[in-house]
C-alpha cells in the first residue's frame, strides 16, 4: 500500500488538468495559434517554480521523505532523438489535443474515443521499441 500516495497525487493531477481545461482539445489548438496566454502561463509558472524545487534538491535542502538525496535523472542526449522525436510528438499532440497525461484524465471524464488514442500511443511506444535501432538518435 506504499503506492497509495502516488494514487492521491494522480488524483490531484487529474483534477488540475480538468479544472484548468488543459485536457480540452481547444486549449491546445488555441495555444498553437498563439491566441491565448492560458497554456503558456501554466507551463511557464510550473517551470519557474519547478526550478526552485530543482535548486532545493541539488543543494540537498530537500530530501525524500525517507531522507535520501534527490537525484533528478539526466535526459538522454542526441539531437536527432530530441528534435525528430519531439516533432513527431508535437504533430500528435496538436492532432489529439492531448499529451499522455491528459489522455488518461479524459478517460476518467468519460470520453470513450480517447481509448483509440491511448491504444495508438501504446502501439507507438511498442513500434519505437521494435525499430529504435533503425532510426537516428
Amino acid at each position: 500500500m506504499k503506492n497509495i500516495k502516488f494514487f492521491l497525487v494522480g488524483i490531484l493531477f487529474g483534477i488540475v488538468m480538468s479544472k484548468a481545461e488543459i485536457i480540452s482539445w481547444y486549449r491546445i489548438y488555441e495555444m498553437f495559434k498563439f491566441q491565448s496566454f492560458h497554456m503558456y502561463g501554466i507551463i511557464g509558472s510550473a517551470v519557474l517554480i519547478g526550478m526552485v524545487s530543482m535548486f532545493l534538491f541539488r543543494k540537498k535542502v530537500v530530501k525524500t521523505f525517507e531522507g535520501k538525496e534527490i537525484h533528478v535523472p539526466p535526459k538522454k542526449k542526441g539531437l536527432y532523438r530530441n528534435l525528430l522525436g519531439g516533432i513527431l510528438f508535437g504533430l500528435g499532440w496538436a492532432l489529439a489535443g492531448a499529451c499522455p497525461g491528459p489522455m488518461f484524465v479524459l478517460l476518467g471524464k468519460g470520453v470513450v474515443s480517447i481509448l483509440v488514442v491511448i491504444f495508438g500511443a501504446t502501439l507507438g511506444a511498442f513500434l519505437y521499441g521494435l525499430f529504435k535501432d533503425k532510426i537516428p538518435h
Binding site: 482539445w25 528534435l83 510528438f89
Partner: protein, 185 residues
C-alpha cells in the same frame, strides 16, 4: 466552493503542477507519464518481440498508480467539481475553427468532429485518433519524454535535451495546427 467550481486560472494550475512534480520527487520517484506506455507494452508481453521491453515493470507500479489516480481525478472533477463544460477560448479561435470545419468550438471540452462516438466509428475518424496516438507514443519514447518529463521536469532542471525536445514539440504542433488540420475536416 464557487472558486473550485469555476475554471481554474493559469496561476493556480501552474503552481499545482509544480507541486505535483515536487511531491513525486519527494516520494522518491519522478514526473513522467509517457513511460507508462512502455510499462503497458511490457505487461502485454512485448518483451517477446524485443529486449527493449524486458524490464521489471513492477518497479513502475507507482507510476501506474499515478495514472489510475489521473483517471479517477478526471472522473471526480467532471462529476462533482464542474458545473459547465464550456471552455472560454478566444473568439478568434472559435472563428478560425469554424473556417476549417469545426463548429461550436468551446461549447464542450472536445470537438465532436474528432471525438464523438459516431466519428470514431468511421474509418477516417478512427484513423485520425489512432494516428494521433501513434505519433504521440512513438514521438514521446523517441524523444525520451513528453510534456511532463521534458517540458516541466527537464526545463525546470535546465536540461538542453529537453529544450531541444520542447522546440520539436512546437515545430510539430505548429505544422499540425496551421498546415495539416485545415485539410482534415
Amino acid at each position: 466552493m464557487d472558486f473550485i467550481l469555476q475554471p481554474w486560472p493559469w496561476y493556480v494550475a501552474g503552481p499545482i503542477i509544480a507541486l505535483i512534480m515536487f511531491l513525486l520527487f519527494y516520494f522518491g520517484e519522478r514526473f513522467g507519464v509517457s513511460s507508462n506506455l512502455e510499462t503497458f507494452c511490457a505487461i502485454g508481453g512485448a518483451g517477446k518481440f524485443t529486449d527493449y521491453f524486458k524490464i521489471d515493470w513492477k518497479q513502475n507500479k507507482w507510476n501506474l498508480m499515478f495514472v489510475a489516480g489521473a483517471i479517477t481525478g478526471g472522473f471526480i472533477a467532471s462529476t462533482w467539481l464542474t458545473t459547465s463544460n464550456v471552455v472560454a477560448i478566444n473568439p478568434q479561435t472559435v472563428k478560425d475553427l469554424a473556417n476549417i470545419g469545426i463548429e461550436n468550438a468551446g461549447a464542450t471540452y472536445m470537438p465532436k468532429e474528432i471525438f464523438s462516438i459516431s466519428t470514431m466509428l468511421t474509418l477516417k475518424g478512427f484513423l485520425i485518433l489512432l494516428v494521433a496516438g501513434l505519433m504521440v507514443g512513438f514521438g514521446a519514447r523517441w524523444a525520451g519524454g513528453c510534456t511532463s518529463g521534458h517540458a516541466i521536469t527537464g526545463l525546470s532542471n535546465l536540461e538542453l535535451p529537453s529544450l531541444i525536445s520542447v522546440i520539436g514539440f512546437f515545430i510539430g504542433g505548429l505544422i499540425m495546427t496551421w498546415y495539416i488540420l485545415p485539410l482534415l475536416f
